[in-house]
Symmetry: C2
C-alpha cells in the first residue's frame, strides 16, 4: 500500500468541491491501494460504490469503531456513492467460541442501529448480515474459494491446523462484497462498478487476497483506503486494562461516564505537578486527551492553538481533558439522539434488498 | 460400521409388511450404522426421514448412480418416510476445476429429473440444490464448521495444503441435511426426527464426521445404510476405459446402444470357445452380465437358475448377455418413459420448499 499524498488530498477536494475530511487532513486515513485509478475513473464520470463492515461481537460500539463509519459517511456524501455494509455475524461465531450464532445475529442488528446513527443516506445504503444475505453471496463465495489454497490462506492469515474449518473458508465471505455482482439488485446489475473499501489497516490482508483473486473472476481489483488504529484511553504505550469499560468510551456511555473515564483513565502527557507543567509543558504526542482531540475536534486552528499552549505549559492536563470531555459528550450525545430515531422500521428499510439511488 | 444380518432383514420385512428389496436380500446394501436403534424407534411409532444426494458432475446418470435412488425409493415406500435429496452443485464446482458454477447448477436440475424418474412420491420428497437452499442451511453449516478442525478434516478426508479453502469447508455442507432442523418447513419444525442415510460406502467418511458432531449440536446421530460399488462393464478386475461411454450404461442410452455395449464391452466369465464353455462352464463371480443380473433381475428363482446353468456350461455368454440386454432395455426404457413425464412444473414442485406429507 502507498501513503496518501498532499496532492491526492487536494485532488479529492477539487473533485468533491469540499474540504477534505479532517481524518484525511490529519493522516488518520493514511494509506491506500489504487486510489489514483479510482479517482481517474470518477473524474471521467464513472460511479463507484463503497464497501465497509463490522464484526458484531459486542453490544455497544466504542469510539474507535466509529472511525470507518464516520469516514465512509463523509465519502458517501462527498462522492454521492452507494454503500454496502457487511455485518459478519458468521465470522464472529466462527472466531469466538463463547458466542452463540443467535447472539452474533442479534448483535448484527443492534450494531446496525449504531451504524445508521453515523448519518448514512437511507436511499444509498444497504446494510446486511451475512446470515441473512448468504443466498446472494454463496455463488461468489465458492468462486473465490476455488481460487485460494489452504497454503495461501495460511500464509496470509496465519491459520493453524487447530483452527476450525469455517475460519479458513471465511476470507472468501469478506472478499465477496468487493465485487459488484454480489449486489445485483442494490447495484442494479452492474458487474463493472469500481469498489472503494475504507477500513482499518489490519483488514488489509483480506483485501490483498481479494485483489489477487479479482482478475481471475473477471472483476476489477477493489481500491482501499486504510486508517490507523484508534488508541485506548491508556495510550499506545499504556497497558490495556483487563476491564474493557475503562479502556474505551462507548457510544452508549452517559455524559457522566465520559467525564469520569477521561479524567480517571486517559493517559496524560502532562507533567506531574503544576509547577513542572508550567515549566516544561506536555508531551502532546503521547497525551491521549490531545490525541483524541486530533480525531474529534473539527476546528483546525483551535486544535493547533491547544497543542501549542499545552506544549508550552500554558494549558494544564485537566484543562485539556475538560475540552475533550465537552467534545466527546457532544459527539456521543448527537449519536445517541440519532440512534433514538432509528426505529425498527428505519432499520428494516436499510436492511431491505432493494435498488440503491445513484 | 456393521454388516446387515439376516435377522435385521427379516425384521425389516416384518415392520414394513413386504419383501425386502432384492439389494438387501443380495447384500448390495450390506452394512449400516445404528440401523437397529432406528428400527426400534420406528417400531415404537416414531417417524424418521431419509436423506440421500448426488454430486451433479455429468449430464446423464449411469446405472450405478441409480442404486442409492432406487433403494431410497423402496425405503420411502416401505416406511412411508419423507425424503430430502441434496444436489451438491457447490461441491462439484469446488472439486472440479473444469466445470463452471453455472454448469454444475444446471446439471443439478438436469439430474433432478432423472432422480424423480426413479419413482419418488412428490408429496414426500424435497429435492434441493445447495446453491438454491444455502439460505436455510448456512446457520447449521457454520455451527458444524465450528466443531471440526482442519486437522480432523485432513485426517478424515485427506486434504492437503494445496486444496482450495472451499473443499475444506464442504464436509459441513454435506453433514447439514443429516439434522432435521435444516428443514424447518419440509419436516414441519421437528428437531428430533431420526435420519436414515442410504449411500455408497465411500460416502461414509462424511457421516462419521457428522455423527461425531451431532451430540455437540444437540441432535441424534444419523443412521446409515451402505451399498457396495457397482462394477463397470469391464468388471472389477478389468481396466477402466478412457472412453467413459464404453464403461457404463447410461439412463439415456438407446436400446441399440445398450445391446452394443453389453455385447462388446461387458467382461465375460465364460470360456473362450463354445466347447470349453460346455465343458468347464462360466465363472459367474467375475462375469459382468451375470453380476448385473444380480442387481437388476428381480426374480430370485430365475437368477438362481441362470447362475446354475451358466456355471454348468448349459448357458453360453451370448445367451446370458441377451437376457441382460432385455432386462436393461426394459429398465432404461421405463426410466426414460418416466423421465419424459417429468415436466418443468413437476420438477419445480419437487424442488419447492414446502411441507412434506408424513
Amino acid at each position: 500500500s502507498r501513503h496518501i499524498t498532499e496532492d491526492q488530498i487536494a485532488r479529492i477536494e477539487r473533485l468533491t468541491n469540499r474540504r477534505a475530511h479532517r481524518w484525511l487532513r490529519r493522516g488518520v486515513f493514511f494509506s491506500h491501494r489504487d486510489l489514483t485509478q479510482l479517482l481517474d475513473l470518477y473524474e471521467r464520470g464513472e460511479k463507484f460504490y463503497l464497501y465497509t463492515g463490522r464484526g458484531p461481537s459486542s453490544e455497544a460500539l466504542h469510539l474507535g469503531h466509529l472511525l470507518p463509519f464516520h469516514f465512509t459517511q463523509y465519502l458517501q456524501e462527498a462522492f454521492n456513492a452507494p454503500l454496502v455494509v457487511q455485518l459478519t455475524d458468521d465470522e464472529k461465531f466462527l472466531f469466538n467460541d463463547k458466542l452463540t450464532l443467535e447472539e452474533t445475529h442479534r448483535l448484527a442488528y443492534a450494531n446496525a442501529k449504531d451504524i445508521i446513527a453515523c448519518g448514512f443516506d437511507p436511499t444509498k445504503t444497504f446494510i446486511f448480515s451475512d446470515l441473512d444475505y448468504i443466498q446472494h453471496m454463496y455463488p461468489m463465495i465458492v468462486k473465490i474459494q476455488r481460487c485460494v489454497t489452504f497454503n495461501q490462506a495460511r500464509g496470509i492469515f496465519g491459520f493453524t491446523d487447530s483452527d476450525n474449518i469455517g475460519r479458513q473458508a471465511f476470507p472468501a465471505v469478506q472478499a465477496c462484497p468487493s465485487f459488484p455482482a454480489t449486489f445485483p439488485v442494490p447495484l442494479k446489475g452492474s458487474r463493472t462498478m469500481p469498489c472503494l473499501i475504507p477500513c482499518a489497516i489490519d483488514q488489509d490482508a483480506y483485501f490483498r487476497m481479494t485483489r489477487d483473486v479479482a482478475p481471475r473472476l473477471g472483476f476489477k481489483k477493489p481500491s482501499l483506503i486504510h486508517s490507523k488504529f484508534f488508541p485506548p484511553l491508556q495510550g499506545k504505550g499504556g497497558k490495556m486494562s483487563a476491564s474493557m469499560a475503562s479502556t474505551s468510551i462507548y457510544v452508549s456511555d452517559t455524559a457522566a461516564q465520559i467525564k469520569k473515564k477521561v479524567n480517571k483513565y486517559a493517559f496524560s502527557g502532562g507533567q506531574e505537578t503544576l509547577e513542572l507543567q508550567r515549566e516544561l509543558g506536555a508531551n502532546i504526542e503521547v497525551d491521549v486527551p490531545y490525541q483524541y482531540l486530533r480525531f474529534f475536534l473539527e476546528d483546525d486552528e483551535r486544535l493547533e492553538q491547544i497543542g501549542r499552549d499545552y506544549k508550552a505549559g500554558k494549558l494544564l492536563s485537566g484543562e485539556v481533558k475538560a475540552i475533550l470531555i465537552e467534545v466527546l459528550q457532544e459527539l456521543v450525545g448527537t449519536h445517541q439522539a440519532r440512534k433514538a430515531a432509528v426505529t425498527d422500521e428505519v432499520l428494516a428499510e436499510f436492511m431491505r434488498v432493494r435498488e440503491l439511488d445513484f
